[in-house]
């Protein structure tokens, strides 16, 4: 496991490369895209476990912190979708440099899935396979869930709202970012990739987009549910999910 900063200056990002632990007949390069804001914090541990499992099966794996998150530069109130999409493209470059492959697969979780789908439109030739874990397809739904979660917490009822930003679960969303997110509506998903797998709990599964006829997407309900929108657990770390095994099986040759 190699942790390092990449990118430069004010847009420097933190990333971790996991080398393959065995010589697999066909190794993949897999980029893990984490959720954003409070869900990023909750998912850090489980995504590291996923990365380790994928590397154990002989894959090159890279995970990173979005701009304004974790150890990367920037603050959350400066974040915009365009910056995160650029982050994802830079992360693919880092990963391919390490692996020597020309293309990558992406595993996204929650808002990481949204960003993966948005970014992939610009880099179709670089993507083999895409896995969406508890995906988010509609920006308005995300904002609505976030607002409900925020209002349900007795400690957050007096959340700040001013002309510059809206506070949701400990993070300051700029009005521009909120507008960016509201515009997201992935209602038709015409995959250009080898395959798409979706793992979801009931909550997000009902919001899946229409898939085109030639799209080899498979949809699975996960056995273990992560209660993303439960006010009692919005700051609880996710310790375990059976989805890890299901995802690592996809990349096991």
């Amino acid at each position: 496991m190699i942790p390092f900063f990449f990118g430069s200056g004010d847009y420097q990002l933190f990333g971790v490369y996991h080398q393959p632990e065995i010589n697999a007949p066909k190794s993949h390069s897999i980029l893990i895209c984490s959720p954003i804001a409070h869900e990023y914090l909750r998912a850090y541990r489980i995504l590291r476990k996923l990365a380790e499992q994928l590397a154990k099966n002989g894959n090159h794996v890279f995970r990173f912190d979005w701009y304004g998150h974790g150890d990367s530069r920037g603050s959350f109130d400066e974040c915009r979708l365009s910056i995160w999409i650029q982050n994802l493209i830079s992360a693919i470059d880092e990963l391919t440099e390490y692996s020597g492959h020309n293309s990558v697969s992406i595993v996204g979780l929650r808002f990481g899935t949204t960003l993966s789908l948005l970014a992939s439109e610009n880099i179709i030739n670089k993507i083999d396979h895409i896995v969406l874990w508890d995906p988010l397809f509609k920006g308005t739904k995300w904002i609505e869930d976030l607002t409900n979660l925020h209002s349900a917490s007795s400690y957050l009822k007096s959340g700040k709202e001013n002309s510059d930003y809206i506070e949701r679960i400990g993070f300051a969303y700029s009005k521009d970012l909120i507008n960016d997110i509201k515009d997201i509506d992935i209602f038709y998903f015409d995959s250009k990739y080898e395959s798409v797998n979706i793992f979801s709990d009931n909550d997000t599964g009902s919001n899946q987009p229409v898939f085109s006829a030639h799209n080899p997407a498979s949809f699975s309900l996960s056995d273990t549910h992560i209660f993303w929108n439960d006010p009692k657990s919005f700051d609880r770390i996710i310790m375990f999910s059976q989805v890890i095994k299901s995802i690592s099986d996809i990349f096991k040759d």
Binding site: M1, P3, F4, F5, F14, V16, H38, L41, Y44, R45, R48, H69, G70, D71, S75, F76, S153, S154, Y155, L156, S158, G159, K160, E167, I169, G170, F171, A172, P231, K232, F234, D235, I237, M239
Partner: protein, 285 residues
């Protein structure tokens, strides 16, 4: 701002980020070690550790935020040692690394929850004068007469609170004994913890103070099972001679992980001011 990803310790198993002080300032004599809050990785609750590290670097203070074994990006915890013993070894190692890397004389430990507990134990047991201060967020707490008065008294004249009290004490107690999982019965973000005996903590706190280590205790409103009024700290530890080395605050409106931005900014301001005062640097806040 200069930050470096570092790995250190036995077989470089520990991972962290050093944030170097702004070199245009007079560098501080001490640096800051930011500990994991429970199982959360080194960036801290709502990224507090990262934000604080970047804020205080502009005041001439370097820092290290790192993951103990089994957390974040450090190696898995698979030693035969009990977890708490291993954590103390990791922190001990991180202090040495921080002091060497930043050329500081000593350091201030900052920790929330289990991080506060480890800071306390480290401050007691360090015999090499490497620790000059500690910020303990939601550290050890013990019930006092005042705690019970604040918990029950507001309900004495309020029939709804009496009913709620009876509901909590009788119905919920029975329900919880019938169920394996009590999660739906617990109030939002209420954390249950076990503390060492009070008399031991009092003796250890006196030892820390006698060493000249400065202490900043901050309690949040997110641990109502243990702490519920402004001066509870003073009442809990009234037998300790603080020698002007101890400061305490109560953030009644904050939850355990300071999710509210207003509360978090206030917390950061208090800690920053306190750190700067240790360094005798004047700052306008």
């Amino acid at each position: 701002m200069k930050e470096r990803v570092v790995t250190f310790g036995n077989h470089s198993q520990l991972t962290g980020i050093v944030t170097f002080a702004n070199i245009q300032l007079n560098p501080s004599r001490f640096s800051v070690l930011l500990l994991n809050p429970g199982l959360l990785h080194r960036v801290g609750f709502n990224r507090f550790n990262t934000d604080l590290a970047r804020k205080v670097q502009s005041k001439g203070i370097s820092s290290l935020r790192f993951d103990m074994l089994g957390i974040g990006d450090s190696a898995s915890y698979n030693t035969s040692l009990p977890y708490d013993s291993q954590a103390m070894i990791d922190i001990d190692c991180a202090i040495d690394y921080l002091l060497n890397t930043t050329s500081s004389n000593n350091c201030v430990l900052i920790g929330l929850c289990s991080g506060a507990d480890y800071s306390h134990h480290m401050a007691v047991n360090d015999n090499r004068n490497r620790i000059s201060g500690a910020v303990l967020l939601d550290g050890f707490a013990y019930h006092t007469l005042g705690y019970y008065l604040h918990d029950y008294f507001p309900g004495i004249l309020n029939p709804f609170k009496i009913l709620r009290f009876l509901y909590k004490k009788i119905i919920l107690k029975r329900l919880s004994s019938m169920r394996q999982s009590t999660s739906i019965l617990q109030p939002e973000n209420t954390y249950t913890r076990t503390f060492p005996p009070k008399n031991i903590v009092i003796n250890e706190m006196q030892t820390i103070i006698n060493k000249g280590i400065k202490l900043l205790y901050i309690f949040s409103g997110g641990i109502p099972l243990y702490y519920n009024y402004e001066n509870q700290f003073k009442d809990m530890f009234k037998s300790v001679d603080f020698k002007n080395n101890v400061t305490f605050r109560y953030f009644k409106e904050a939850n355990h992980t300071y999710t509210s931005i207003t509360q978090r900014n206030y917390l950061m301001q208090i800690i920053e001011t306190w750190l700067v005062s240790l360094n005798n640097i004047s700052v306008n806040i």
